[in-house]
């Protein structure tokens, strides 16, 4: 009953797409953290985290989003989140992430959002 988790990286129109799949919890969060960090180090600061196949996220998983967002925004980039399943969205929403992050319906909407506001206005 090991909880499977995987990240698929791709790029689209200059944006770096991280598609998450499975369980993002305390065990798998370091993997996600490493992925975000390596994108950031490589200078890919405009990221989209695609969550259509993300089935569960724990507080440790949410922590990863927070740990980089300030640095990324300072560098002029952002993390936009898209395609959250309703249950997962609820977790983001309870914590107030909808006020901190651009959370949109799907990948095209995320691309569109980058055109409108490269960095979320807060």
């Amino acid at each position: 009953m090991a909880n499977p988790f995987s990240i698929h990286k791709s790029t689209e129109q200059g944006l770096s797409i991280l598609a998450l799949e499975g369980y993002l919890d305390a065990h798998t969060a370091p993997e996600f953290e490493k992925a975000v960090e390596s994108e950031f180090q490589a200078g890919h600061i405009q990221m989209v985290v695609e969550c259509s196949r993300l089935t569960y996220i724990s507080s440790a998983g949410l922590g990863v989003f927070m740990s980089f967002i300030e640095e990324i925004r300072e560098a002029g980039g952002d993390i936009k989140i898209c395609a959250l399943a309703p249950k997962v969205f609820q977790v983001f929403d309870i914590l107030g992430f909808s006020a901190l992050f651009d959370i949109v319906a799907d990948l095209p909407a995320a691309v569109e959002r980058y055109r409108e506001a490269p960095v979320k206005e807060t």
């Binding site: 090991a2 305390a26 922590g63 927070m66 740990s67 914590l95 107030g96 006020a99 901190l100 807060t122």
Partner: protein, 751 residues
Amino acid sequence: MKRIAGLAAAVAGVALLAVWFSRYWPASHWTVVPRAQLLEKGRQAAAHFGVDVGGWKSYAVATVAKRGAAPLSLRITYVAGRGERAAEAGFDSSGALNYWRAPDDVRGQKFASDEAAALAAFQYMAGAEAARYQSPRRSAGDAAGQEVFEFRNAGSPFHERIQVRTKDASVERVERKTSASLSDEDDDDDEGYWGLFAALSGVIQTAGFVVVLAVFILWVARKTISRRFQLRMAGGAFVIMMAALVFGSGWDKLHSVHLEHDTVGVPQFFTALAILLYVAVWRGISVKARPKWMTLEQLCLLAPVAKATGESLAAGVLFSPLLAAIPFLIAGCGLFPGSSVWPQKAVLLYDRVPLLDSGEMKVFLALLLFFGFAVPALERLIRFGWLRWMMLVPAGTLLFAYEWRGVSGPVAGALTAGALTLGLFWVLWARFDMLAVLTMQLSAGLVAGLLILGQKHESIWSFVLALGGMVLAAVWCQRRGQEVMEGDPLATNPMLTGFRAEREKLLAEFSVARRAQQDMLPQAMPEIPGYSIAASCTPSLEVGGDLYDFLNLQDGRIGIGVADVSGKGVPAALYMTLTKGLLASVTKNSSELGPVVEEVNRHLHSVTRKKVFVTMALGFLDAKKRVLQCVRAGHNPMVWRQKGKGVTTLVNPGGLGLGITASKVFGMQLKVAELKLAEGDAVVFYSDGITEAMNSSLEQFGEQRLMEAVERADSLAAMAAHDSILGEVRSFLDGVHPQDDMTLVVLRVGG
């Protein structure tokens, strides 16, 4: 020291074997017939009786037909399809046919009458000796329509006869029987005291199976097995077991219903599997016994290269000649007249893969049961050492006397062999570990096999190879293995003595931390006139990141807070204490809900690492005015039950988690809700451990069930309501261990 002991044991064992083997067992006793030749003879015999077994699968087993010094009997079984029909041919050790049984549903050649069929079969079997037999005695057989003809050898000093069973004028079974006694009774392997041993062994195995399976299921239910490590372990054990079955003779035998001799039955197989899983589940083994299983576990993880593994393998190989010598010692020492060596190990000669024969598997099973189940169970149940020994020694002696079966003959000899075997196994268990015990058993089989061969034989090389392979593996593990094994952080070298002490020290410190943390929670509920209140916090691990607290505010109001730190375990626990301190100090200066929370947020943001955050539900209660102000800083919404109106709602004002951002966004998002409470109302604060509690079918308890639980507790005061809600969560979990900390605070207006 251990090295010297091992070498001494090897020398002693080889010396013993050299002396006693030649004394007891002259090479002439054995004429080993090559397997291929035997198969061909069986085929010819079948053809003679009108059954074509060409293309059928064949299995060879060796059994002892008669007790005492009777020769080895070899039996070939031919099976068509998946065991739909089976024929058997038996030979004595010189290769002469002494048994034939036609398949149940195949009639062979039809004769003019039953008499004619019997006569033809008899003549085939007796050959040139036929003249020495008397005319047959005829009687009815066990099956309907079956006729039994018995031809006695008048010239033999023993009770020697050829028995033919016929049906519908064709031959069903021909059997050459010899016994030392003059009675007509058939000698059977399992009569007398062997029958008793078999029954005892069966009871132990069945009981072990049931208990082990129950324990295993319990653990699965509690999800302790869900750790990736344990899964891998169980997977490895399964692979090894399946390989044993597929490559050994066991797998085919599982299918074939006709085979009754020396099969590993389905229950035995699953017992072995269950025990391996029991080892895999790890917690089944007490901390004390754990190092004994570590190398075996490492093997099951398919990562066997470690120094300790090498040591165990070497010990097993070196001690094995002693084990192999035991039966020869018993039979040859003169103390037990009538004892003879049970040539069970000869079974190996006729197996496609030596060592994976059912006989060997049974011994493995007995060993796993004894050391994996009986020893630890008694250690747990019985406190007195002497009483334990008084139970273990006879049980082990009987078990090994039967399962290991080194000698046959008088019971005293068998029991002595059992006791010696037990002693030797115990030495390897106590001085080394379980892997050494199992290796010794395997290796002794090889040594015995080599001895029995003692001359040219087609399969001698497979024995030499297997034995050499074990030695090589031992050397390889010794030279290339690591001191400390990888994988489980706890799986250190069992020879490191510090391991146990370290672990126990850590556990002790954890329990101190747990107590300290529990002490930090309010020890008594606040006394609020006109209200009742109850709260609890249950960490999932030793320490947790959940918190509840009550505050006496400067303006006379009462603060009620529930908080949850992201993550689990020790880091979460540290931030939990920090949060509690912050809340207490900030409310010293301010009683305004919004600013209090913003202040806590600022502090947390400045001291926590970026990815840590805290969610909090905080309410300030004006008891007289019955007004509760609440905020929800990223936390689960509170449940508000309005009894008078019959309405249950989630109080869900906006708000970010604490420590996420110090910017103005936090203040902008934070909303304060104001609840005007009425008599009988309840407000429930909780952590996500309650709503996300997951049962074995992966359903979450959820907000809906929580709200319904609160409604059902309408008539109860806070304490009883709290217990009833938590009771519903527990019965929903149905034994599954909670994955997250669970915190629940219930505030009830009135009584």
